[in-house]
Amino acid sequence: MSDSQLLRGTALRRRSFDRFISVLCLVAGVIALLPLAAVIAFLLIEGLKAWSPAFLVERPGSVVGPGGGAVHAIIGTFLMTGLALVIATPAALAVAVYVVEYRESRLAVVVRSAVDLLAGVPSIVVGIIVYALVVLTMKHFSGFAGSLALAIIMLPIIARTSEEMLKIVPRRLREGTMALGMARWRALGFVFIPTVASGILTGILLAVSRAIGETAPLLFTSLGSNFVQTDFSQPMSALPVYIFQNAINIGFPAAKERAWAGALTLVTIVLVLNLLGRWLASRAAVRGAN
């Protein structure tokens, strides 16, 4: 065998091995994408059967019959998630600030571990706890109890991302504020948090996306309702609850279709919120860019 043949043989082996691995990676990539594609395809095919613009604005009709909208569930979802956001964000930011700024204190370590544990508590357990503490005390289900359950689910997500963000505030900025004799809370509010705002915003968005799809904690707290309800002291519907209640009516094809339409609506809302959040985050990032 001549030298040139030997070289060609090696090249061929390497090329075919390279091709083999490339194909393997491609297949793995496709496998990862398949579930997502399947979800979207099913949602579109099944969801569009019952979905129409009217679905967004009409009140619910009969459970067994066709038609009827989900306006009560959409309003409920926005109200409860919104209130949860208002409750969770300041609390989570405060936790993150405490954990980062007072990291030498032992309590900060405890708080940090507690946040991690909270993140690991199954959402149904959160629902049961809020049921025991709020619903039983108030003696009825309410949108407020639902918001509280969602806020508890959001808190560790926002706290952890905010913590990671505050940790990456450059030391030279920290020292800059100190060298000017700035109070720490002012440095945080006017320099550190604005500087990492885009990252914190991403965390908030992540938390909203997670909470907006939660069903289990709402079943024990806001219960669900067939009316358009804006009073937080009353039971409230939400899209996941609406989907659940329609989907369990397996005997009625119209209910099943409404569940698909609700699912399509929910996923669309999450998608739009994500795009909106990304846009906001990129604007914040441009403002804070070095």
């Binding site: 450059p170 030279r172 900025l173 920290r174 020292e175 800059g176 504020t177 100190m178 060298a179 000017l180 004799g181 700035m182 109070a183 002012r186 006017f190 320099v191 604005p194 500087t195 705002a197 403002r287 804070g288 860019a289 070095n290």
Partner: protein, 297 residues
């Protein structure tokens, strides 16, 4: 003290804020009793300063003076503790985890480490400019200068703030370049402009001393010369201490030079101090001579 205070108030009349917080004055009266000798023109006196980072000795037994309304340069090789000494002067050393120090730092005879004194008050009176320009990235040029002063209660209202911003930017020789873009982000400026913005920001909280920690090491030669020229201008009203790697810079700008070196047993220490012209033409120590002639360091 009273005389000095009057001086300062006159100097800063445009801002109209007395520089010494009450706490500093109280401490001063105690200090007068214990201070045995005070060089008349020294604004800052460091005596017997020894500092550690954890268990590592950074500097030992450093004593030096920084003359009022003049530029004192601290030069020396890397690791000789120049920045450590500078940071000890405005209590920015203690913010480094593990840093601790012994010895005393006096500002016009007042012990800046007196328990009755707020570190923040010391840092406002003895301002600092860092190696890397650090404007607040989310704030406009205007707010970079105005916000810290406003937070410290130096100014109130739009007119007063406008005046302070203009005055500080003029003092920092930046006004002409930014007066039409005050709303733009501080981070949009060039490195040299950012450094001058940081100087303006420090001036806006009405300091008496400005510490500069290698302020030109991240800048190009032209921006470096601008900062040096600015330092010369500012030294007519302010006390300036500048740490630099660059011997030419020390020779160009400073009135007094402090040469530091280090050894394994002593950490960083002061080799020689004196008027800059003498240090650079006729050093009395062999180490200094070797360093300034480029034989080591």
């Amino acid at each position: 003290m009273d005389e000095e205070n009057d001086d300062v108030t006159t100097t800063h009349a445009a801002i109209g804020v007395n520089i010494a917080p009450p706490a500093l004055e109280v401490a001063h009266e105690d200090a007068e009793v214990t201070t045995t000798q005070t060089a008349p023109a020294a604004a800052i006196e460091v005596r017997g300063l020894t500092a550690h980072y954890g268990t590592k000795l950074a500097v030992s037994d450093v004593s030096l003076d920084a003359g009022q309304r003049s530029i004192t340069a601290i030069i020396g090789p890397s690791g000789s503790g120049k920045s450590t000494v500078l940071r000890a002067m405005n209590r920015m050393l203690e913010v480094i985890p593990g840093a601790r120090l012994e010895g005393s730092v006096r500002f016009h005879g007042m012990d800046v480490y007196d328990p009755s004194i707020e570190p923040a008050a010391v840092r406002r009176t003895i301002g600092m400019v860092f190696q890397q320009p650090n404007p607040f990235p989310t704030m406009s040029i205007y707010d970079n200068v105005a916000a810290p002063a406003r937070f410290n209660g130096m100014v109130r209202g739009r007119v007063e703030t406008d005046q302070l911003v203009e005055r500080s930017l003029r003092l920092a020789a930046l006004w002409g370049e930014v007066k039409d873009v005050l709303g733009k982000s501080g981070a949009s400026l060039s490195g040299g402009q950012q450094q001058r913005l940081c100087i303006a920001r420090a001036l806006a909280v009405n300091p008496e001393v400005i510490l500069m920690d290698e302020p030109c090491s991240a800048l190009d030669p032209i921006a470096t010369l601008q900062i040096e020229e600015l330092a010369r201008q500012l030294s007519k009203e302010y006390t300036i201490v500048i740490v630099t790697h660059n011997m030419q810079q020390a020779a160009r700008v400073s009135d007094e030079t402090i040469f530091m070196s280090m050894s394994p047993e002593r950490g960083g220490y002061v080799v020689e101090t004196g008027p800059t012209t003498r240090i650079f033409t006729n050093p009395s120590n062999k180490l200094t001579e070797d360093y300034i002639t480029g034989r080591f360091g």
